[in-house]
Symmetry: C2
Subunit: 334 residues, 2 copies
């Protein structure tokens, strides 16, 4: 690997080179040798150079990470299958977790999928900096739902995924956080299964984990809580009912997604079940993003303090958690 | 960026180049120009070339991702502060989530921290492929705890972190999954705070998310569950008691960490609270790793099926979840 910065900064070039080399799959060198060994076989099936170039481009661009993990024997069998037209279908739709917003909190697998995608179908809360990791030539389809505003329905989103994948396009369905936590992934996976379209999932950093990291508090503490509940403030019918008796118990801890609008409802239900009004609650809006806001409050003051702080964006209510370590965490991150 | 594969495979070189360029921070070009503009200032404070090289190496290697995000004005002020000896402390210990094992499920932030670390303090369940992302020159300290075997105590781990950081070394505390979910992070953060050592946290993909992705099931399903509980099977006193009445309820769903040894206990407690014996349970051992195993069972057969499958490694019990989509997911991933 060599890096040029046009003479502006050799130190930067060195730092980037070492950064990149650390991120290259370790098997790259061995892999290059195996590919070389497959030249004769490829040439036999695809005598024209442009055909061979297209063949390799298709497989290497789309499937590099899987190919790097195969043994030389497996790889040889794969390539033979592909050349003789009996190759297995590549996955056509991948549900990808975009994480909380900071592009540094994307996984390598997510970056690779984004870079290979022909079509990127994305939600309202996916950050712009994550979106720019897709290729310029990819088709970007916005399917965000805005609360309180008529938005695209789930059926229409399912239809887009099925339609694009049926055209042989590689579709990335990009969801903020983790696609399997309050992301309605089941409905999309069912629609794809019904259409016999292979799908897989790349998990992401969920907002509760990013929020806990932002305030320097562990979601679980030995001797304090043996469980943490991930809840939604809203469901299909409005404010979501929960097992309030359990959540109101001494020492109970929970992370509430989509809880800002439901804050007064949640407060009321917990108080009704004799929760301590002084239970600490920390609200993290836009965790991991430059516009992140942290509000420390308690159950008794929760809705008022949310309103006073002007929180309207995506936020997690961390019930039972304080932000005592936040000053330290902020200092360290600055 | 240019890539050489010594003539073995130009197609591979192209695929790698585009993969790498997609992962370079977008601001790199602008950043190089800003650095160039700071040359005169740096030269004024550090007239000797080797001093300037050390200065840039230290800041660029350790802090590249933060520096790339600063505006030119901020960056100029930072560099001035650093040159005049009033620089803020760099973070000294970072708790890093190593994710479930597949190195492709590491975040970019975690890779960067690993690559910069002077000392890497790691747990038993951190995979070897993740560990190899650290530098060869780094010091690796194993602090794994093996169940049922006398192992290093938490106090000794805390002491190592404080001692190494106090020597001015950049310490990465590498924990499998997410450091804030059943990772005893609080105890380490408290020890660091007591020693006035700045610490921060890079979240990771937690095992429950990787397990759900492996079986193609959403942890939450609109209309089915409005909450998912993350539980531990063990705590300091042995098998962990939980709010069993709530967990035994119709439609309750939970992911149990460290639940293999506690499977019969959990089964007994849930049945005592009238849980349906046919409640589906899917066990995922070594989620995301090549040796991943998925066992579909139900509450009535849980401990027996775990024993029959020979599950002994790290596993998540997904209570209330089926693996109906797993065949599809496996096909897509193969």
């Amino acid at each position: 690997v060599s890096i040029g910065t046009e003479g502006t900064s050799p130190a930067l070039a060195r730092a980037l080179k070492s950064d990149i080399e650390s991120r290259l799959p370790q098997e790259t060198g061995r892999f290059a040798k195996v590919l070389k060994g497959l030249r004769a076989l490829t040439k036999q099936h695809l005598p024209e150079l442009p055909d061979r170039q297209r063949f390799w481009a298709k497989h290497l661009d789309r499937d590099l990470s899987n190919m790097l993990r195969r043994t030389p024997q497996q790889l040889k069998a794969d390539v033979k299958d592909a050349l003789t037209g009996t190759e297995k279908l590549l996955e056509q739709v991948v549900l990808v977790g975009a994480g909380p917003g900071d592009p540094d909190l994307l996984t390598t697998a997510a970056r690779r999928a984004l870079h290979s995608a022909d079509v990127i179908v994305y939600d309202r809360l996916v950050s712009d900096t994550v979106l720019t990791l897709g290729r310029r030539e990819a088709e970007y389809i916005y399917v965000g739902k805005t609360p309180g505003v008529p938005s695209i329905g789930q059926d229409a989103i399912n239809d887009i995924l099925v339609e694009k994948a049926s055209q042989g396009l590689f579709v990335v369905r990009l969801k903020s956080g983790d696609p399997l936590i309050f992301g309605r992934a089941d409905e999309e996976l069912d629609a794809l299964a019904a259409a016999h379209i292979p799908a897989s999932i790349i998990p992401g950093i969920t907002a509760a984990a990013a929020s806990a990291a932002a305030i320097g508090a562990s979601l679980t503490t030995r001797g304090t809580n043996r469980a943490v509940a991930l809840l939604t403030g809203h469901d299909a019918k409005g404010f979501a009912e929960q097992d309030w008796r359990s959540l109101a118990g001494e020492g109970a801890r929970a992370a509430v997604y989509m809880g800002v609008g439901a804050a007064r409802f949640i407060q009321g239900r917990l108080m009704l079940h004799d929760a301590n009004p002084q239970t600490p609650v920390t609200v993290v809006e836009n965790a991991s993003r430059p516009e992140q806001i942290i509000v420390e409050t308690c159950l008794a003051r929760l809705p008022d303090d949310i309103a006073a702080a002007g929180i309207k964006g995506p936020a997690i209510l961390l019930i039972g958690y304080t932000a005592t370590r936040v000053a330290q965490a902020q200092k360290a991150a600055s």
